[in-house]
């Protein structure tokens, strides 16, 4: 299916080489054994989990999707750029604000070449003044433009928090609906490769309670392009969370134009035993753990929630009703993070479907250390995911 175009890099982020497309081709296509499509109730004969020889191949693994169209291979930052270019060509009110987005080409090359294409008035190099250029973006949006505001690193947007929270999120409401703020605030966040504490921040938890804001996190080139386009077209302010380590993911995406739904979650791997909810980089850790889990006989269902605010409780709920066990794996902080909110939302809505307490694996509540071993210990690693699933499914 379209959303599951074959990923050529499978769960690379536990190892340093994210972008090496040649080396890490997944063997997922090689193991073509399909998950035995059991009837819905049969998986749990007698209430006990029956391990089955399920494989970590995707259920409807596309030999299908990408092959019917030509598609083209892109890296994730190129996919974002394609989305920006397409939207800027179609709508002249779309402009880009950010540090070094113009002549430098963008610190992660997302806006490379845009300044030459669209000129200095549409791709604007700002000074290092996040508070004010975010405010200017909001002001421009009030007057009908559609700025895409880039924070060079998500952590820098903390300087603009007042503008994002009070003006961006609230103006539509306090003006009684007179103004709409169709901005997109985007930037890379997350723990990278020893970037240090202040450059490894996850702001999903900070922004999630701002009313009026929508948050999405992209994880593959396919959904990066689709979500970026949807975010630009949306009339609401959208924060698009990218990840520093995912920019070099390569994937084949369709040639034709497509837009994804901002509030929808993505089913990465259907399964029967446990629902694993994740987003952004942790998706790859989860998929790596899924390989191990499948070898051990578990059949995890992996959902990339993508939409961090609002949660796609529809997809999540259907999954919980099937598996009755939930594990949340996120890179956000433990305290007050996305996982905490998601857990609470699941409990509110699906309590009766749960057979085990919801487990939530998140980053430790520490500033991200510089040392490599400590940094790895800050975020969730596949081994922890495997252990958690074993515990849940006991």
């Amino acid at each position: 299916m379209a959303a599951a175009s074959s990923l050529h890099v499978a769960a690379p982020v536990a190892t340093p080489r994210v972008g090496s497309s040649a080396g890490n081709r997944s063997a997922s296509a090689a193991r073509g054994v399909r998950v035995a499509a059991a009837g819905s109730g049969a998986a749990r004969a007698g209430g006990r989990l029956v391990a089955r020889a399920a494989v970590a191949a995707k259920e409807n693994s596309p030999a299908s999707a990408a092959s019917k169209s030509d598609g083209h291979e892109v890296l994730l930052f190129e996919a974002l750029r394609e989305a920006l270019i397409e939207e800027m060509k179609v709508d002249p009110t779309v402009c880009v604000f950010g540090e070094d987005v113009g002549h430098y080409g963008g610190s992660y090359k997302v806006t490379k070449g845009l300044a030459e294409m669209f000129g200095d008035l549409r791709v604007l190099d700002t000074p290092i003044a996040e508070n004010s250029f975010t405010g200017m973006g909001v002001g421009a949006a009030m007057k009908g433009l559609r700025p895409v505001i880039e924070g060079m690193n998500m952590g820098f947007l903390l300087l603009a928090y007042n503008q994002i929270s009070n003006n961006c999120g609230m103006l539509h409401y306090t003006s009684g609906g007179q103004f709409k703020i169709p901005v997109v605030i985007r930037g890379p966040g997350g723990v990278g490769r020893q970037l240090g504490a202040e450059h490894s921040q996850r702001l999903e938890s900070y922004f999630q309670s701002i009313p009026g804001l929508q948050m999405v996190a992209c994880s593959t080139p396919y959904n990066a392009k689709g979500l970026m386009k949807a975010a630009i077209r949306s009339e609401n302010p959208v924060v698009l969370f990218e990840h520093v380590l995912l920019y070099n993911l390569k994937e084949k995406i369709p040639d034709e134009e497509y837009v994804l739904c901002l509030e929808e979650a993505e089913m990465v791997r259907p399964g029967e035993h446990v629902t694993i909810l994740t987003y952004s980089r942790m998706r790859y850790h989860v998929m790596q753990a899924a390989k191990t889990l499948v070898n051990k006989g578990y059949d995890p269902e992996v959902i990339d929630i993508r939409s961090l605010k609002p949660f796609d409780l529809h997809t999540i709920g259907n999954s919980i009703k099937k598996t009755h066990r939930v594990l949340i794996v996120e890179e956000c902080m433990r305290t007050g993070g996305i996982g905490a909110s998601l857990r609470s939302a699941i409990i509110d809505n699906f309590w009766d479907y749960l057979d085990a307490p919801i487990m939530c694996l998140s980053s430790q509540d520490v500033p991200t250390p510089y040392a490599a071993t400590l940094e790895d210990a800050t975020v969730v690693q596949p081994a922890q995911i495997v252990a958690a699933v074993e515990q849940i499914c006991r």
Binding site: M1, A3, L121, S175, F179, C261
Partner: protein, 588 residues
């Protein structure tokens, strides 16, 4: 007198509904009149404009009228606040009217104005009417922001008035963004971003000024220097109180803000400069008679003599009155009549605003998001969040299921209340109306006792449908024709013989969530009472016969909802599975 070569705004009679109509025809002459400003302009790296301001008698009378309306409106707001009809923060502008009126005289409606929270008079100047002003202050529906903004959030989009902001300083980057949009769209107009002497120390002002100067945006930063930032005098807050000079590389002009003609001249000058050369800073030397807000008496940090001194010597309205009388544009009696009319107008507006109702509770959730292209946003779980506050408590569509509509134990379900509750009962919507896929063992064995029934929920017609349902497994409808993502996973088809043991109550019009209270077990969930269709009548359900169970087996050590359900076919009998639990009386 030499007519200055400046664009002159010819006063036009505005729509009759507006309060700021042209003055009545005392002297509506449009013959030019040149008047000298009280003090010359002081400038910073720019040549100041001339002291001679060209105006017309009609315009001067308009000034008098408009400023009197503003003054009267603010005094009335003071009384309303003391009468507790206006709550929260109320920052009054009396004393500073000349800035609003003079600025408006110099510009057109295609120029933009943005300010902080002392915005009532600027809203009026931009064409707002008194009724919507007072209604917004009192939080009524007829307010300019539908009662949801309050004193600090007045906006008027069609007049390019951008508010109305609570966090001072933040509006200046917004204003520079407005100027950016004006430049982007090649409109020949400028933006006036107003702030006070307190906010002049915010860093984001200088950031925005830097960017505006770099990009040559038509932004005019106007510092309304009333010399006090709340309780802090300017000399205690600013090392350099020459606010017009603080742009450094950006030109600045200092203006007597109590002289409406000087303000007009300066704004005209600034607009031309900004459109041609980029940003400029204006400092309006003005004064506020009230304290910072209604909770500030205004006399702890300044003397009453100072306030009355300014009122005597520099009051903007008195200045214009003297001008009118000196040039014989009207008699004192006529001016008095005008003031009386204004007073009456304001009182009428207050009365009319008081008639407007408070916003409906459903307005709580409107305008949080905008409905837009194809990617509509919802609350959590894909439902639009709307509020129903029928029985005095607000519940949204989701929480009704999570918590149950809680009626306190002390209340008994009297027939009227029961009918009320019934009228507003609703069939649960997703996710609770979905046929369960997984079947849990303990419910399976009870399955046989439950009558199978069609899953289609029936809705009482009295309840409006508040949300859209997305059926599981379907593709998201694409509204634009673009390729939307399709779900990758299709649920396996339910075996045909699986009974509907998830939500048998769907088939009745009962709401499941009435029962939280009357149940002995406080854990009764929203869907705790599973009522077999046709077996249990409304009254016994409402009386809580089977109000105990929660779907979660073992939550209270008692049987699940289903087992209770099974026995409720015989109302009045204690369900055998729940013998240990007290059963509420079944008397209806």
């Amino acid at each position: 007198m030499a007519a200055a070569a400046l664009l002159r705004r010819v006063p036009v009679v505005r729509a009759p509904a507006s309060t700021l109509i042209a003055a009545r025809a005392i002297s509506n002459s449009t013959a030019p009149l040149t008047i000298e400003t009280s003090v010359p302009f002081t400038s910073h790296i720019v040549d100041p404009p001339s002291r001679d301001v060209t105006t017309t008698p009609a315009e001067i009378l308009t000034f008098f009228h408009d400023m009197s309306v503003m003054r009267r409106m603010e005094i009335a707001a003071d009384s309303l606040y003391k009468a507790k009809l206006i709550r929260g923060f109320c920052h009054l502008y009396d004393g500073q009217e000349a800035v609003a009126v003079g600025m408006e005289a110099a510009i057109t409606r295609s120029d933009s104005i943005i300010t902080a929270y002392r915005d009532h008079c600027i809203y009026l100047a931009r064409g707002g009417d008194l009724v919507s002003t007072f209604a917004e202050l009192m939080g009524r529906q007829a307010g300019c922001s539908r009662g949801k903004g309050g004193s600090m959030h007045f906006y008027k989009k069609d007049a390019n008035f951008y508010g109305g902001h609570g966090i001072v300083g933040a509006q200046v980057p917004l204003g520079c963004g407005l100027a950016f949009a004006q430049k982007y769209r090649k409109e020949e107009s400028a933006t006036f971003a107003l702030y006070g002497d307190g906010a002049a120390n915010q860093g984001q002002l200088f950031e925005a000024l830097n960017i505006s100067a770099l990009w040559k945006l038509p932004a005019i930063l106007v510092c309304e220097n009333n010399h006090y930032g709340m309780g802090t005098a300017e000399w205690r807050a600013a090392k350099s109180p020459a606010y017009y000079k603080r742009g450094d590389y950006v030109p600045g002009l200092k203006v007597d803000g109590m002289d409406v003609l000087a303000v007009k001249q300066a704004c005209k000058f600034a607009k031309e400069h900004a459109i041609a050369n980029g940003p400029i800073v204006l400092e309006m030397d003005t004064y506020r008679y009230h304290g910072h807000s209604m909770s500030d008496p205004g006399s702890t940090y300044r003397t009453r003599d100072e306030i009355s001194g300014v009122r005597q010597e520099r009051d903007p309205i008195e200045r214009v009155r003297k001008l009118i009388l000196a040039h014989d544009l009207a008699t004192p009696a006529e001016l008095k009549d005008m003031e009386k009319e204004i007073r009456k107008e304001v009182d009428d507006a207050i009365a009319k605003a008081k008639e407007s109702p408070m916003p409906d509770t459903s307005e709580l959730f409107t305008n949080v998001y905008v409905k837009g292209f194809g990617v509509e946003s919802f609350g959590a779980d894909r439902k639009e969040l709307t509020a129903e506050c029928r029985s005095g408590r607000s519940t949204d569509g989701r929480s009704a299921f999570a918590r149950g509509l809680v009626v306190s134990p002390a209340e008994s379900l009297t027939p009227p209340l029961r009918r009320l509750v019934q009228a507003y009962s609703r069939v649960p919507e997703w996710p609770f109306n979905r046929r369960p896929i997984g079947v849990r063992p303990w419910t399976r064995r009870l399955a046989g006792r439950v009558a199978d029934a069609p899953v289609t929920p029936s809705r009482p017609s009295s309840v409006s449908c508040l949300s859209k349902n997305f059926s599981g497994g379907d593709a998201h409808p694409s509204s634009s024709g673009n390729i939307m993502a399709r779900r990758t996973f299709q649920w396996p088809a339910m075996p045909a013989d699986t009974p509907n043991q998830g939500w048998p109550w769907l088939d009745s019009a009962l709401t499941p969530h009435l029962l939280g209270t009357t149940s002995a077990c406080a854990r009764a969930s929203a869907w705790g009472c599973m009522v077999a269709p046709g077996r249990v009548d409304v009254d016994s359900v409402l009386a809580g016969v089977c109000g105990r169970a929660s779907g979660h087996a073992g939550a209270c050590g008692r049987a699940s909802a289903c087992s209770v359900l099974a026995d409720s076919a015989r109302p009045g009998s204690a369900p055998s599975a729940c013998a240990s639990a007290p059963v509420p009386s079944t008397s209806a």
